[in-house]
C-alpha cells in the first residue's frame, strides 16, 4: 500500500505513544498522530487539549482545539487557567506534542517571528500559545515538523519554547521539570538528542530516504547516529485508520495554509 511522506511522519509519531499515557495535544499534525494512536494501538491514551478538555475521545478529527466534540466526549472539562496551573505545570502529563515553524540543533522551537528583528519581522507567526509551558513541564516532548533548511536552522530566530537551550545542563539550571524534546519526527526520519551534547542527531530514517537528502534539508551540519535504523513503513491497518480519520476532518486539507503556521503553536 503506497503512502505519502506526511502519512509516514504521522504514523511514526503515533507509534511513539504508548497506551495509558497522558498526552497534551496541539492541533494539526500532533492531533492527527495522537488520535491515530488512540484508534489503533493505544485506545487508553488520555488526550488533553489546552481548551480544558481532559480525556477527550473525539470520533472526528477536530479542526480547532475547542471543537464541541472535545468537550462532549471528555472525562472532565476545566477552565483554561486550571488546565495550565493544576494539570500541565506540575509535570503530571507524560507527553507534550508540539509543532514548530523553526527548530534549531538543540531542539529550541520558534513559532513567533521569522527574521532577526522582532520589531520588523520578515514573517509574523501566531506566537506562543501553550507551547512554552508544554515544552517546560511535560515529562517528555515530541516535535512533529516537516524538514527543510527553512525549518531546521542552526539557530532559532526567536526561542518561543525551550528545548535544550545552548546544550547540556541548560534545562537543569532553569529548574525545568520535563526532559525536553526526546524525539523530533519529520517527513524524512527521526532525530533524538545526543546524550552527551544534547545536539539533535539522526537516529532513524524512513524507507527509501537517503542520509544525503536529510543532510540537504537540515540547516546545520547534521550528525548521523552510528546505529542508524530504517523505520518500518506504515502498515495497511495504520494507513486505513489514518485516512479514515483525515476523512472525518472539515475541508481543511483542501486549503494549503491549513498545514502551515498554526502547527507552529500548540493548537
Amino acid at each position: 500500500m503506497s503512502y505519502t511522506a506526511d502519512e509516514m511522519m504521522t504514523v511514526t509519531a503515533a507509534r511513539a505513544l504508548r497506551d495509558g499515557m497522558t498526552c497534551f495535544v496541539g492541533i494539526g499534525l500532533p492531533s492527527e498522530a495522537a488520535n491515530l494512536a488512540r484508534s489503533t494501538h493505544a485506545p487508553g491514551l488520555v488526550l488533553i487539549y489546552e481548551s480544558g478538555t481532559i480525556g477527550a475521545k473525539p470520533g472526528a478529527l477536530p479542526l480547532s482545539i475547542g471543537d464541541g466534540v472535545l468537550a462532549e466526549t471528555a472525562d472532565s472539562v476545566v477552565s483554561v487557567p486550571e488546565i495550565f496551573n493544576y494539570w500541565l505545570q506540575p509535570g503530571r502529563i507524560d507527553v507534550g506534542f508540539l509543532g514548530a515553524a523553526q527548530l534549531d540543533r538543540f531542539g529550541n522551537i520558534n513559532t513567533t517571528v521569522i527574521g532577526d528583528d522582532y520589531a520588523e519581522p520578515r514573517v509574523r507567526l501566531p506566537g506562543a500559545g501553550g507551547a512554552p509551558e508544554i515544552a517546560a513541564a511535560c515529562r517528555e516532548v515530541i516535535v512533529v515538523i516537516r524538514q527543510s533548511r527553512r525549518t531546521f536552522t542552526e539557530r532559532a530566530d526567536f526561542v518561543t519554547s525551550i528545548g535544550f537551550g545552548d546544550g547540556p545542563g541548560y534545562r537543569e539550571r532553569l529548574g525545568l521539570a520535563g526532559a525536553g524534546p526526546r524525539r523530533v519526527i519529520t517527513d524524512l526520519g527521526v532525530l533524538t538528542p545526543d546524550p552527551g551534547t544534547c545536539e539533535l542527531v539522526l537516529t532513524g530514517i524512513y524507507p527509501g530516504i537517503e542520509v544525503g537528502q536529510v543532510r540537504e534539508r537540515t540547516g546545520w551540519d547534521l550528525r548521523v547516529a552510528a546505529g542508524l535504523s530504517v523505520l518500518p513503513a506504515p502498515s495497511a491497518a495504520e494507513l486505513t485508520a489514518l485516512r479514515a480519520l483525515i476523512a472525518t476532518m472539515p475541508a481543511a486539507k483542501a486549503v494549503p495554509p491549513a498545514r502551515a503556521a498554526p502547527e507552529g503553536a500548540a493548537r
Binding site: G52, A71, S79, V80, T112
Partner: protein, 271 residues
C-alpha cells in the same frame, strides 16, 4: 448593583469607549463575534485589544482600524493559517500601526486570574529560557521566600471592559454558560465593566452540568443576541461554522475583498 439588560448597540455604547482596553474572550467556543461587529459599527478607535487567541473577530477589528495595540498569546486562524489583517497591520502598518504585547497562554490565563483575584501579579513556571521576556513588558523574576527557587511573575490584567458570549441569562441578569468555559469568568471578574451577549433570556436558570454562573451583581450589561457567536458556536445552540473559518483565509488575504466583506456583513447589518 444588578446587571442591566440592554440592546447590543446600547450595551456596547455604554461600555466601550475610544482608548479603552477591551478583552473579548471565548476559547474557540462562545466567541463574541456580534459584539465585536457592533464595536466596529460604532467606529471605536485606539482600543487596546486583549485576547488569548485573537482569531477572526480580532482580525476584523484590526482590519477595520479599531485597535492601536494587541495583547495576546496566539494569533491565528485555528486549523487554517495566518490572520492576514493582523499580519498586514504588524508587517505593513495597515490600516494603522499595531503595537503588540505577547505572552504565553499560561501567562495570559494567570494574568486574568490575578486581575480577578485583586492581586497585582501572579506567579507561574513559565517563560524561562525563552525570548519572550526580552520583548514583553509585565514579565519579571521572583524568588520563593521559602525555597529560594526562581519563578516567573506576570502582571495582572485589569481591562476596562470584558466582552463575552454565553448560552443564557435570566431576567435578573444572572449569566450561565457551559461546555468549554475557557477564561471568561476570570476575564469578567478582572474587568471594570462587562458586556455579556446571550443566546436566550429565560425565566429561571436550571442547573446544567459543567455550567459557570456569573451572578447579576458581578456583570454590567446583558444583551440578547441569538447566534452572536457565529462563526464560533454556542454548545447546545449552534455548531462551529468551520467552512467560514476556511473561507476567511481568502476573504482576509486582500484589503479590497476584506473591505467589501466588512461593508456587506458588518456596516450595513445593524442588529
Amino acid at each position: 448593583m444588578m446587571a442591566e439588560i440592554l440592546s447590543l448597540a446600547e450595551a456596547i455604547a455604554a461600555a466601550v469607549h475610544d482608548g479603552d482596553s477591551v478583552a473579548m474572550e471565548g476559547f474557540t467556543h462562545l466567541i463574541p463575534h456580534a459584539a465585536g461587529h457592533e464595536v466596529i459599527r460604532q467606529g471605536r478607535r485606539d482600543l487596546t485589544l486583549i485576547r488569548m487567541t485573537p482569531d477572526i473577530v480580532y482580525d476584523q477589528l484590526i482590519g477595520a482600524g479599531c485597535a492601536s495595540k494587541l495583547v495576546f498569546s496566539w494569533a491565528g486562524n485555528p486549523g487554517v493559517g495566518s490572520l492576514h489583517r493582523f499580519r498586514d497591520a504588524v508587517e505593513r502598518d495597515w490600516p494603522v500601526p499595531l503595537a503588540i504585547e505577547e505572552h504565553s497562554h499560561a501567562g495570559m490565563a494567570n494574568r486574568y486570574v490575578a486581575g480577578a483575584s485583586g492581586l497585582p501579579f501572579a506567579i507561574l513556571r513559565g517563560y524561562r529560557g525563552t525570548s519572550l521576556p526580552a520583548h514583553t513588558a509585565g514579565v519579571a523574576e521572583v524568588t520563593c521566600p521559602f525555597t529560594g527557587e526562581k519563578l516567573t511573575a506576570v502582571a495582572a490584567l485589569r481591562p476596562d471592559v470584558a466582552v463575552i458570549h454565553a448560552q443564557r441569562a435570566d431576567r435578573l441578569g444572572n449569566v450561565q454558560f457551559w461546555g468549554i468555559t475557557g477564561v471568561q469568568k476570570e476575564c469578567v471578574l478582572a474587568s471594570a465593566r462587562s458586556v455579556v451577549t446571550v443566546e436566550e433570556i429565560v425565566g429561571e436558570l436550571d442547573p446544567r452540568p459543567g455550567a459557570v454562573v456569573l451572578p447579576s451583581w458581578a456583570v454590567s450589561y446583558v444583551a440578547h443576541v441569538p447566534g452572536g457567536a457565529h462563526p464560533s458556536y454556542a454548545l447546545g445552540y449552534s455548531a462551529r461554522d468551520n467552512d467560514f473559518y476556511l473561507a476567511w483565509d481568502a476573504i482576509s488575504r486582500d484589503r479590497e475583498t476584506f473591505g467589501a466583506w466588512l461593508d456587506e456583513h458588518v456596516y450595513t447589518s445593524a442588529r
